[in-house]
């Protein structure tokens, strides 16, 4: 039985095309994925991301617990409200999930993990929390709305009450504020400025409607995917999984090696792999005709083969782009097998668009 968020009725009213996503009935688009994509790049769009799993971790040992659980180091979070992106690895260094953790206070951290990995994440977190006497509280009483785009902060601020607006306006990027039972974070998954707002479920529809009235347009999961791909942000389950380490998924920057004596789960394997991965994670821009898709084979002449992990059409750039794992020796060019034809592609850094601007030279 698939689940509905508190905004399900609002999606139907907005002509959302509903699909099953990780057991949730979610809008894939509201008419045109490409228009919704441009809306976020050029103005302001909003996403219902209430299906994502919000987990509070409480107790005096929470910091020590998370320093063991996550490959990135929560000790970097010294200012209340600061956010950190991290992978949670298994003993083999494979990625169980990627997540954002917010430092609220010394005995309270908030983590947002993926919807599709909810059950295994919670089981893993609970299992390890026992050793640290940390309380794990799933916040399924909260909804989450992401408001993203160059005008997102302005428009959202008009809708907040005075106290919320005051807190939101003061936020630096990658910080969050607790305002009563609301949680306002200047984070996102689009490469644009904006907020991710966690709020009580029974207030979600009113807030959504107020944003709509302020000119923020609903955007579906389809646009969310092309926006994150352009922005160079990995997607769990396609770009990495339990058999892929962060080092093989372009996420070495999220692994905190120092202090060297911090023992996090998966560290031994990652230490051994550091500096000698056989593959590298790159961006591709298709030079010939067609569209890049997940799992297409890549041929690097004289060197070997690779695979597209996330591929699509970039509405902002008007051409096909992808993330791919290719042999470490790969240089500027490769070929992609598209229905039996070898189509040339350019190898670039895996980030294509930030703040509305192309990152391609």
């Amino acid at each position: 039985m698939s689940k509905q968020t508190p905004l399900y009725a609002a999606h139907l009213r907005a002509q959302g095309k509903i699909v099953d996503f990780a057991g949730w009935q979610m809008p894939i688009h509201y008419g045109s994925q490409i228009e919704e994509h441009h809306q976020v790049r050029q103005d302001a769009g909003m996403f219902d991301v209430s299906h994502m799993t919000i987990v509070d971790m409480r107790g005096a040992n929470t910091k020590a617990f998370l320093q063991n659980l996550f490959a990135n180091d929560v000790a970097k979070l010294t200012q209340p409200g600061k956010a950190l992106y991290s992978c949670m690895c298994n003993e083999k260094g494979g990625v169980i999930d990627d997540l954002i953790v917010y430092y609220c206070q010394d005995d309270w951290y908030r983590t947002v993990v993926n919807a599709a990995t909810r059950d295994k994440d919670l089981a893993w977190i609970q299992q390890h929390a026992k050793n640290f006497d940390v309380e794990i509280i799933e916040r399924d009483d909260l909804a989450m709305i992401a408001v993203q785009g160059p005008n997102a902060r302005n428009k959202a601020t008009q809708v907040f009450n005075q106290e919320q607006a005051h807190a939101a306006q003061a936020l630096k990027p990658f910080f969050a504020a607790v305002v009563g039972d609301w949680f306002i974070a200047r984070t996102g998954y689009t490469g644009e400025d904006g907020f991710e707002v966690m709020l009580p479920q029974d207030e979600a529809e009113k807030f959504w409607q107020a944003l709509l009235d302020a000119g923020v347009k609903p955007s579906g999961l389809g646009a969310r995917d092309t926006l994150r791909l352009e922005a160079g942000m990995n997607l769990y389950g396609t770009d990495m999984d339990e058999n892929i380490t962060p080092l093989e998924a372009g996420l070495a920057w999220t692994v905190a090696w120092e202090p060297a004596d911090r023992d996090f789960i998966g560290r031994a394997v990652l230490d051994a792999q550091r500096g000698n991965t056989k593959s590298k994670f790159v961006g591709l821009v298709l030079e010939g005709k067609g569209v890049l898709r997940n799992h297409q084979k890549i041929i690097v002449e004289g060197i070997g083969e690779g695979e597209v992990t996330s591929g699509s059409f970039s509405p902002t750039l008007g051409q096909a782009i992808a993330f791919a794992r290719v042999p470490s020796e790969t240089r500027e060019h490769c070929f992609v097998d598209i229905r039996g034809k070898q189509v040339p592609a350019r190898v670039v850094k895996p980030m294509f668009v930030r703040n509305g601007q192309s990152c391609l030279s």
Binding site: I28, S32, I34, G222, K289, S312, F313, R339
Partner: protein, 130 residues
Amino acid sequence: MSDVPSNLKYSKSHEWIEVSDDIVTIGISDHAQDLLGDLVYVELPEVGNEINAGDACAVVESVKAASDVYTPLSGEIIEVNDALADNPELINQSPYGDGWIYKLRLSEVAELDDLLDADAYTALAAEEEH
């Protein structure tokens, strides 16, 4: 409800066919383009190719996925809609007009009997929506 013009014939694989003696024009239905979403690339067949009913002869790609276009009829490709190379969204905007994909000179006119009329296709599309 999607648009299903009554003057056209349809295939079970969601192509529409306009018949004019032994020349037919083929595209994808409004229902099909709606399911695919925004189209971003069309791989057209080559003029002069001989194709058989059931062959995959073109590919339409939306932001989300690639989908084969099958020919419901056998014959020789005599013309393709080159405008789709630069403007694949014509299929979304006008699936039965500017979004046509290719024209065929039939080699097996009897195959026309296997096509669906608008009522039968409407029923098929409605069934798939549930």
